[in-house]
Symmetry: C2
Subunit: 96 residues, 2 copies
Amino acid sequence: MIHEIATLTIDPTRAADFEAAVNQARPHFEAAKGFVSFALERSIETPEKYLLVIGWDSVEAHMVDFRESDGFQAWRALASPFFVTPPSVEHVAKVI
Amino acid sequence: MIHEIATLTIDPTRAADFEAAVNQARPHFEAAKGFVSFALERSIETPEKYLLVIGWDSVEAHMVDFRESDGFQAWRALASPFFVTPPSVEHVAKVI
């Protein structure tokens, strides 16, 4: 199991609407093959910055299976209108 | 409850020794006032990059209580010899 960490930067005056959109998109992740866990974290020092932290069975479950799915299109349709810069994505594996 | 996310960059050829040092330092976090949880995550795309993810009761538990404690000095003595750039630290709060 790995975590996708997507760094999302939005207009902080639209934070409530953005969080509602992410909540609405959440079932598209939960229905995906290889999905493990879902969290949205907001930076305390930088309120326009959020981390979407998704657990997946593997990097491939995210980058191939999910990215090629209708669920990914639905997520992006809901969330991308809020992005003020393109999201950046990395994957991490727990070592301790 | 909040998470501290410390981004740590090390020489990847020393990864095993670094991970052993973090494991050795772990009890200093676990003994701290306001400590909640501990994880070390390694970037898959950037193997020299680690995220130390510590749950705390509050930002103050980390930035005041822990930073002024002997446990912080012990952590830094163990880990900082591996750092190739200064760590960066941010705090996040779960919104979903």
